[in-house]
Symmetry: C2
Subunit: 350 residues, 2 copies
């Protein structure tokens, strides 16, 4: 697979947003975050989305110069109106605010509304790590692929949960999960590779296992743990969407089909300042010990290694930074066409 | 099945704790909460636990007169040392504190340490409902039944998550779930009824499905969504245990096997005050609309009704309050023996 160095990829993304007349600091921020997504292997939420973002921006579906403002505020919470700006920009401000508030009161929660797709959930939870905080992030997905348990109407999204917990020596514990067995991006990837899906990912309208990813629109994703994952997706949607005034349920816009309507995406960030609870080093050392206990547990036959949440992304980040980020041929071609359409320097392979 | 009226059951539980020389208000609180657990159908966490609690109290494993105190505090957080008191008493104080703090700062988080088993998670998240708040609750389970994904050492518990979200007309949305496919209590119930477990609940040490509940100690519970549920159980344990100084991982005491050691159980409560985010009525009406959309969704063949999280408990609560709480013969006999041993009035059926 062709690889691209992270600095090159980042420069390319920045040049796209500069060309679209985004403020320089916003273009830089988006470029950095989108590259980070691919660096950690969140390849369904990184530069693969660039063309769709550009399409939406050019169609007027995203505000290049949003006036992001706090519309509700108390000592340990805020609601941020994103003015339909890029999600990366809006959520980054929400995270800044949550960190500043948590530093004062110990724990803080910030919701966004009229935000947009912001890439992988863990990007924002991970912001806690350098602050000796725990970060939790909840988001409403940008297309409904999940019915209520027992139902068929697509009223829920794969609403993800991310959590980042700092350590001393060990890689941080970083959870980033859709509340469905498979994220919809994984279904699309199976279709692209011409592979069948395993049983348990989707069912059809008769309730039978759906295995052909090309028939995905004839069925539904399955939530993790059946009714439990349905409950989790609903809870995340209420916290990240409804609570802050963001879209939820039938108000969610399918951003793969509609490039103009304001998505009114909602996200929520919770920051927990370790210093309020005790000595941060003591907490982080306890996490280190736990991580090692889990990793060194006796293994089931055939299992080579026990992974901690976020550990595979951690290793990937190191490797891709050294060896470059592998991008598929189709994506490379897509980015080349984008450069041509925007009349900017194409992505340089190296 | 024999039924007991809720007031009778409550009076009986109160009399047990009075007999054990608990402070009157603590005995009353425990009686009310344990009865509420059975009223809502959380029958693995209600009076079925009474004998084990008594055994632990008589063995000196629980402090009857705890000096519960705040050991860390900021505007929107606190850590409560439960002094090894009954979990119901410790967590109730944590909830009171979280509500008071959330009223001031918008959002508040309280951890407990040296607490104990407190019954079903939803009891405490539900406290938010009368306050026009959203409540979230996390707890470290009191016995490790879950290995890390791919492993065999029991280092994690079924660490539950509960969330309660208020409504206007519709029943509140109340999620209460173990992060395993089946809670361990359900395995024990299957054994008691002489039934096999469905595939997907447990595996044995070869990684094969384990179906016989009498062989439960030869295998492990499976987390929901495989590695995802493992990640959730770990995250909940870090938030509810490690963060507040409670037991986690190999420090967790199996309270079914050891009745003396301090369990150092940790729980965490997050309270979110709707009034900080906007007009509570507006939020609750939006939840009502969403609830109806989900309930009225088109159904899969053979599905009679789509349920919302907490809706079945809601109906059960109403029914059991009118018709009495069904308790199995074995439990009735167990409570009768307990009354005799403690020399108190036995439970009256009616």
């Amino acid at each position: 697979m062709p690889t691209i160095s992270a600095p090159h990829l980042e420069r390319f993304v920045v040049s796209v947003f500069e060309r679209l007349q985004f403020p320089v600091e916003d273009a830089n921020l988006i470029g950095r975050l989108m590259t980070e997504a691919d660096l950690q292997g969140s390849d369904g939420h990184g530069v693969i989305r660039l063309s769709a973002y550009v399409k939406r921006i050019q169609a007027g579906g995203i505000n290049r110069n949003p006036q992001i403002r706090v519309v509700r505020e108390r000592a340990s919470m805020a609601v941020l109106d994103g003015d339909n700006g890029m999600g990366h920009v809006v959520v980054s401000q929400a995270v800044d605010l949550a960190i500043a508030k948590a530093r004062e009161t110990g724990v803080a929660w910030v919701n966004t509304r009229t935000s947009n797709h912001a890439g992988p959930a863990s990007l924002y939870a991970r912001r806690a790590l350098d602050e000796d905080m725990i970060g939790l992030y909840f988001a409403v997905g940008n297309a409904n692929h999940l019915p209520p348990w027992g139902g068929m109407d697509l009223l829920l999204s794969t609403n993800p949960i991310a959590a980042a917990i700092p350590t001393v020596i060990e890689p941080p514990v970083v959870l980033d999960m859709a509340t469905t067995v498979a994220a919809y991006g994984k279904v699309k990837a199976k279709a692209k590779r011409g592979e069948m899906m395993p049983e348990g990912w989707m069912i059809d309208r008769e309730g039978r296992p759906l295995l052909d990813p090309n028939r995905a629109n004839e069925g539904f994703l399955l939530p993790i743990g059946g009714h439990k994952g349905y409950g989790l997706a609903l809870m995340v949607g209420l916290l990240a969407g409804t609570l802050g005034g963001g879209a939820m349920g039938r108000d969610v816009i399918d951003f793969n089909a509609d490039f103009v309507s304001v998505t009114n995406t909602g996200q929520a960030i919770l920051m927990i300042d370790l210093a309020a609870f005790g000595e941060p080093a003591q907490f982080k050392e306890a996490v280190d010990v736990l991580v090692r206990d889990l990793r060194n547990a006796e293994r089931l036959p055939g299992v080579e290694r026990i992974w901690l949440p976020g550990e595979q992304s951690h290793e990937r980040r190191k490797r891709y930074r050294e060896e470059g980020i592998p991008l598929g041929d189709a994506l490379i071609a897509d980015l080349r066409a984008l450069a041509e359409a925007l009349d900017i320097e194409p992505l340089v392979q190296c």
